[in-house]
């Protein structure tokens, strides 16, 4: 396959960026999208140009590092992570636009690499259960009904890639935040911090400069792990409950 790539190039956080056009040839449909970019980079290095910087690590769809907007879609046309997207999803002769996640809470570091530390700070605000090592009771002391355990798992699958923010027309982090809140708040172990967790995490999310939710649903469509839009509904419910309870105290 022969392809034309239009790639966002930006020297560093402070520099202006622009799309640059490159040609790549001999692309196999079995290659992953990132392997195709590897080919481009080998080409660029040998011709003395700066290779395209992009985040990637596990290349099996679980670490959440890869983060490309491909032809306007976060992670490209298939519902998966960029690293699990294969070139068979494209046609010979295609022109492909590759851009970084765009949100003011995710400033560009270089080319296609963005800074997602705002996500870490949301988790730091309350996305945990306080259980210092050694303090745990016997695991079977508290049974968890299977539907609750499944609900928790479904939300715990979030890989923190940020595709939800990238796809959201408002640059909102509601799906990411709600996934963690729902994971922990449904479990009996998470109950003692249930209210502070949701209030603090939502406050931090706002603090980081993410947008608000208009329930456009783009986040859930882009999510490679299939976190449902209803996750946001459940978080809203938790937030209202916590606000009511906090006002009574």
């Amino acid at each position: 396959m022969k392809l034309t790539l239009r790639v966002w190039r930006q020297k560093n956080a402070g520099a202006e960026g622009a799309m640059s056009t490159y040609e790549v040839d001999d692309i196999s449909p079995d290659m992953s999208f990132l392997e195709m970019l590897d080919v481009l980079n080998e080409q660029l290095i040998l011709s003395g140009e700066d290779p395209v910087a992009f985040d990637h690590d596990c290349r099996e769809g679980i670490c959440g590092a890869c983060s490309l907007v491909i032809n306007g879609d976060a992670h490209g046309p298939e519902r998966t992570t960029t690293c699990q997207l294969h070139m068979r999803s494209f046609k010979d002769g295609d022109t492909i636009d590759i851009e970084p996640w765009r949100a003011s809470a995710f400033p560009v570091v270089k080319d296609l690499v963005v800074d997602r530390s705002s996500f870490d700070r949301i988790i730091q605000a309350g996305g945990y259960i306080t259980a210092p090592t050694g303090s745990a009771p016997e695991a079977h002391a508290t049974p968890v009904p299977k539907p609750d355990a499944d609900f928790a798992f479904e939300h715990a699958e979030c890989i923190g890639c940020g595709a939800c923010v990238a796809a959201c027309p408002n640059g909102a982090a509601m799906l990411f935040t709600s996934a963690k809140i729902n994971h922990l708040n449904v479990l009996p172990q998470g109950a003692p911090e249930r209210e502070t967790r949701v209030l603090d995490m939502v406050a931090q999310m706002d603090e980081e400069g993410f947008g608000g939710c208009t329930l456009a649903g783009e986040c859930a469509t882009a999510c490679p792990k299939g976190i449902p839009l209803m996750s946001i509904t459940s978080m809203n419910k938790e937030w209202l409950r916590a606000t009511r309870r906090a006002s009574k105290r």
Partner: protein, 222 residues
């Protein structure tokens, strides 16, 4: 609590949801009242007068009406201010567009902001036209039937009204469902029901409101 709510994006969305539902409830009542126009000037004008005497003898003349008006003004202002502030925030959160962009969310979702602005402007015109008569030449206080027929006898009156009601339908369609999610009453099991109610409400309101100008245009109401 008020500070938490107003200071948070989730809280402001709650304000929008609650104020939106108040307005929605009002619109349903308003739309049903409007349909009385098909039963003739007497019945319609009598209904309009009754609105002013509602609650008597406990309430004085027009007290109830003013109470409703105050609640509505608060709802409209809260809704609009929240929407304005949230929109500004959203635009700041996503300052640069994708070079390769494509619209995806449904039409109703994408038109919430513009639809809201159209509706806001419409409300102003609507009050100046049919409540105060400020922009209505030949306005006859106390004769709402005649004033309505008069408004819908002009082409621009019809156009403004019908466009606004279509915008209303779209706004309600996404807004009602969205409010349910914001208030946390949505669930996977309930989602289809909520979407259906939203669609039915949107359709009934639009059809019910548009029936009046159509009635005037076709001569059913004159």
């Amino acid at each position: 609590m008020a500070r938490t709510v107003w200071g948070s994006t989730v809280g402001k969305k709650t304000v929008m949801a609650v104020s939106g539902l108040i307005m929605l409830l009002y619109l349903v009542v308003h739309m049903i009242g409007n349909l009385k126009i098909f039963f003739g000037a007497g019945e319609f004008n009598h209904y309009a007068h009754w609105l002013r005497t509602l609650g008597e003898p406990f309430m004085h003349y027009e007290w109830t009406l003013w109470l409703v008006r105050v609640v509505l003004v608060i709802a409209v202002v809260a809704h609009a201010v929240s929407a304005y502030q949230l929109s500004r925030r959203d635009i700041r959160a996503r300052p640069s567009k994708y070079v390769h962009s494509k619209p995806r969310a449904s039409y109703a979702t994408r038109t919430m902001r513009w639809g809201g602005i159209i509706l806001g402007l419409f409300i102003v015109w609507h009050i100046l036209d049919l409540t105060t008569g400020t922009v209505h030449s030949g306005f006859q206080p106390g004769h709402p039937y005649q004033n309505v027929v008069d408004t819908f006898s002009t082409w621009y009156g019809n156009v403004i009204y019908i466009v606004a009601m279509l915008a209303l339908g779209l706004h309600v369609r996404h807004g009602f469902w969205s409010a349910a999610q914001t208030l946390g009453v949505g669930s996977r099991a309930r989602d289809r029901a909520l979407k259906t109610v939203a669609n039915v409400l949107a359709l009934l309101l639009t059809a019910g409101f548009i029936a009046v100008p159509v009635g005037v245009m076709t001569g059913v109401v004159s």
